[in-house]
Symmetry: C2
Subunit: 140 residues, 2 copies
């Protein structure tokens, strides 16, 4: 009637390594499930749903702390979703900052690559850009 799953089945259904499922339990993201006579974890559909939630949130780049909050909020059906939106907006802003940082980096690196004349290492613009500025100060 009420379907149950072993940890391996749960893992297969949510694309999660068994070790990761146990890790989520250890840090309190998943509840301790009941155990079988042989001490195996016995999961039900509620566990499956919760783990699915966690994994989708992770795929969307939320941290486990944020996942924890989202799980908490998702239980408060009758509350306005303001806090959810706020959390997501924060995450989007963070992602945008990271995109920006990476684009800056990419720009710098491609410029260096473009300046390289493909000669000896001694003249390579890339190595040069990493070397300390040797201007002045040879003697104190």
């Amino acid at each position: 009637m009420t379907q149950t799953y072993t940890i391996g089945e749960l893992g297969r259904l949510t694309d999660t390594k068994v070790e990761t499922v146990r890790y989520y339990e250890r840090i309190g993201l998943l509840p301790h499930p009941p155990r079988s006579s042989g001490n195996y974890r016995v999961y039900d559909r509620a566990h499956l749903g919760r783990l699915g939630f966690i994994r989708r949130a992770r795929e969307l780049g939320f941290s486990l702390e944020q996942v924890r909050e989202l799980l908490e909020l998702s239980g408060q059906d009758a509350q306005p979703c303001e806090q959810v939106d706020e959390l997501v907006q924060t995450h989007v802003t963070d992602i945008e900052r990271r995109i920006h940082d990476l684009q800056t980096l990419r720009q710098e690196l491609t410029q260096l690559l473009a300046q390289c004349q493909h000669g000896k290492v001694a003249e390579c613009r890339i190595i040069e850009a990493l070397q300390p500025h040797v201007d002045g100060q040879t003697a104190a």
Copy 2:
């Protein structure tokens, strides 16, 4: 004549925490410097240059393993800079992949935010998108 630095001075000059300098030494990125009578590390301009190189490379997003290779390559003045370029190109490709992934993420999240009607959590599109698909399967 030949200027020396304490670890703290080196840190200040390269914007590196003292612990981080020691860490670099521990993992073999920086050589063990000579010690003073009081067992203090005594650095010279070569150390300063090397640490500067490491820090600039880190700012450009290279991993410590890549930094290690870059340091190695930078010593081979007479060799062609092919391997340097290759390493940098690999890094750029990696950055581009990360940018792409983040842009996809951003797209997904902003779409969810746009769909939210700001009602109760129970109807929130974001929470919905994270919940498991409840289609069918209510009974086996």
